[in-house]
């Protein structure tokens, strides 16, 4: 195999990682603060894709405007879901939230099926079919746009977590919920913030990928499953862990498909998850429980 082919594999893997990373980041934030495995984030990925689809058809809007619109709607729905379903369930038992999350995912999927139908949709990219050819390595203009937007979102999130008061609160609650509560951090309010951020990221990811991957109401279930494996591999509640996990899993999948066989690619994500559970139960960058 020539160098261009190997680089193309690497670029393919990096691109796959962007979709995983945005959803996995939201999941890990929610889990870190509230210890809730929010499977419904998969449905918000689908919502983002549909918002983009309809926004690009609406007069006066367009694909670029659809991105913030999708993120705002995703944030709103995720917060609503958190306040109406998860937080009340969590008061009774943490385990109930697990069942609740699966239930919400199924309900949202079927509502989407009823609202939008089962047809596959694809959003027209504003970049058309334009692409960069870097010595035989192909990167489409839309892929470049997705990589750039993802990088901006990650930097913005990192800065918000590091330098803003709510961001510091989220990190504190994720690291030590009890101690955070003792110093007056309202974990419920921060939890709703985590839901909003996660919902925005998931819907944003859906909108970003909508011109590249045909989607239907069931697309989210697959996305969320893989993202969860990444979160467990990277360390539940760990933001850097989610990022490292997304890149590792995506590259491992890609190179397995490239050098072994495509049918084994998906085994890698779950294989890594199981290996991580054996070797480092807290995940690659997760903290061991006190």
């Amino acid at each position: 195999m020539d160098v261009a082919t190997i680089l193309q594999f690497g670029l393919n893997g990096l691109f796959v990682a962007t979709g995983y990373a945005l959803v996995a980041l939201g999941l890990t934030l929610i889990f870190g603060v509230l210890h809730i495995a929010d499977f419904a984030q998969g449905a918000l990925y689908v919502v983002g894709a549909y918002v983009s689809f309809y926004a690009t058809q609406a007069p006066g809007l367009g694909y670029f405007a659809s991105l913030p619109v999708a993120m705002v709607i995703g944030a709103g729905l995720a917060s609503l879901n958190g306040a109406a379903v998860y937080l009340p369930l969590q008061r009774h038992s943490g385990a109930l939230t697990f069942i609740g999350a699966l239930g919400v995912l199924l309900i949202l999927q079927n509502v989407a099926l009823w609202l939008f139908g089962g047809e596959f949709r694809l959003v027209r990219s504003p970049f058309g079919d334009g692409k960069f050819n870097l010595g035989g390595v192909i990167l489409t203009h839309h892929q470049a746009f997705v990589l750039a937007v993802t990088a901006c979102l990650l930097v913005a999130l990192w800065m918000a977590l590091r330098y803003t008061k709510p961001g510091k609160g989220l990190r504190a609650a994720a690291q030590e919920a009890e101690a955070a509560r003792l110093v007056g951090i309202d974990s419920q309010r921060l939890g709703l913030l985590a839901f909003a951020v996660a919902g925005a990221l998931a819907a944003g990811a859906g909108a970003l990928m909508a011109p590249i991957r045909a989607f239907d109401p069931h697309m989210g279930a697959v996305v969320i499953l893989k993202s969860f494996a990444i979160v467990i591999f990277g360390g539940m509640g760990s933001v850097p862990g989610a990022l490292v996990g997304a890149v590792t899993v995506a590259l491992a999948e890609t190179f397995t498909a490239a050098y072994v066989a495509a049918e084994f690619a998906d085994l890698v994500a779950f294989g890594l998850m199981i290996a991580a559970l054996f070797v480092r139960p807290q995940g690659l960058l997760g903290r061991r429980p006190a």
Partner: protein
């Protein structure tokens, strides 16, 4: 007392005579004038193949609505109407098992579906055990082969093509018309995907071609990024790509094929003619080849049709006039199931499931949306498909249904019903 006893005996005697006579002779004239036959549909109504399942069901619903609005149809001296019930098999073996058990419990007389091979394989023994004939649409070879024999599903039939029906003419077209002999194959990792690749490979090798590497089977459902497999195809030395998947996957494969600038020939299954595929991929599918199964007479063609396909035209016009949309092959599954049963009932003069299906399997030809054809003893539709391509963004029929049977012959009834 004696008189009273005589009256009583006479009364009982008359009653018994009335009942006996009634039981023997009268129902022919006084039995139910209208009989309702319930047809169950086991289809993927949610999940990765929900659209295909919903369209199949819609085809059946429209066909039944029209028949019932016309007052039903005559079977012997009775009027028969259809009633439809449906269950979601989610395109999975587990979903298929649940759907089949629910339809058995609902006492349906016939079953349509499934569309998905893995679900249909799970459903087949359940319906066979319950004595319910199944008209399925999935392509996996075993459904009219080993699996059917094991299940004892002697009354089940496949309404349309199986993997060999589709892949034999496509492979022949690739080699003999396009001169593509070296192929890279990719398919979803299911009974459907594996059967299609195996049948394509069989004919390709018979005609002197070959696969340049072992086929790549990707996870279904869930794979959306095909760039890595396509990058492998690009550097494989192949002249053409065979890609098998459902509509969503085929959209992804086609777009990413163009993105990566691949210049190989492109061959797929008949799902490439799906309207959703055409909407999403548009002119980027120009020059892609696939088997066509449904011909409503609208698309341009490069041959002269010898036999008009009246049922396809009728379904197409019905959909355009009543639902303001173009009918698809998927609608043909449901519509075809209803009309196959109707025609067999009318000819047999009975609604008895066993008699109806014996008639279906008698070799007689039926007028259906996917052509006019009969059924082989193994339950396989003895039908053929042509090869189509996209030319200037339009679906264009390149060769007719008789292509696989012309020299060199690559498909015979014996290939469809291997012993």
């Amino acid at each position: 007392m004696r008189l009273k006893g005589l009256v009583q005996r006479t009364g009982w005697g008359l009653l018994v005579t009335f009942l006996v006579l009634g039981g023997i002779g009268l129902p022919a004239t006084s039995g139910p004038a209208v009989e309702t036959v319930t047809v169950g549909f086991a289809l993927p109504l949610t999940g990765a193949a929900a659209r295909e399942g919903q369209e199949s069901l819609e085809g059946a619903q429209v066909a039944v609505r029209l028949l019932n609005e016309a007052g039903g149809f005559r079977v012997g001296n009775r009027t028969v109407r259809f009633e439809i019930v449906s269950e979601d098999d989610r395109c999975t073996p587990a979903g298929g098992t649940e759907a089949a058990n629910r339809l058995v419990a609902r006492r349906v007389r016939f079953v349509g579906g499934s569309f998905c091979s893995s679900a249909a394989l799970a459903e087949q023994p359940i319906f066979a055990q319950a004595g319910i004939p199944q008209v399925f649409y999935a392509y996996a070879t075993d459904l009219t082969g080993v699996a059917r024999q094991r299940a004892g599903a002697n009354l089940s039939v496949r309404l349309g093509p199986q993997a060999a029906t589709e892949m034999a003419p496509l492979a022949k077209y690739a080699v003999t018309v396009n001169n593509h002999r070296l192929f890279f194959a990719m398919a979803q990792n299911t009974d459907f995907g594996r059967s299609m690749v195996a049948e394509f490979r069989k004919v390709l090798e018979r005609l002197g071609g070959r696969l340049v590497a072992e086929p790549e089977f990707y996870t279904f459902p869930g794979t959306t990024d095909f760039r890595t497999i396509l990058t492998k195809a690009r550097g494989s030395g192949a002249e053409a790509l065979l890609a098998i998947g459902l509509v969503g996957e085929m959209i992804g494969v086609s777009l990413q094929f163009r993105e990566l600038g691949l210049t190989l020939g492109f061959y797929g299954s008949d799902l490439l003619e799906d309207p959703a595929y055409q909407d999403a991929v548009g002119e980027r599918a120009n020059g892609f080849f696939y088997p066509w199964v449904y011909d409503d007479g609208v698309d341009p063609r490069r041959f002269t049709r010898t036999e008009p396909e009246r049922m396809a035209r009728e379904m197409s016009l019905t959909f355009l006039n009543t639902l303001k949309k173009r009918a698809t092959r998927n609608h043909g599954w449901g519509w075809g199931t209803i009309h196959l049963l109707k025609q067999a009932m009318e000819r047999e003069g009975s609604t008895d499931p066993e008699r109806v299906m014996r008639r279906v399997l008698s070799g007689e030809r039926f007028e259906l949306p996917l052509g006019n054809y009969g059924f082989l003893a193994c339950g396989q539709a003895d039908m053929r498909v042509g090869v189509a391509s996209y030319v200037g963004g339009r679906r264009t029929l390149m060769v007719d249904r008789d292509f696989a049977g012309r020299a060199p012959t690559v498909l015979t009834p014996a290939d469809l019903c291997p012993r």
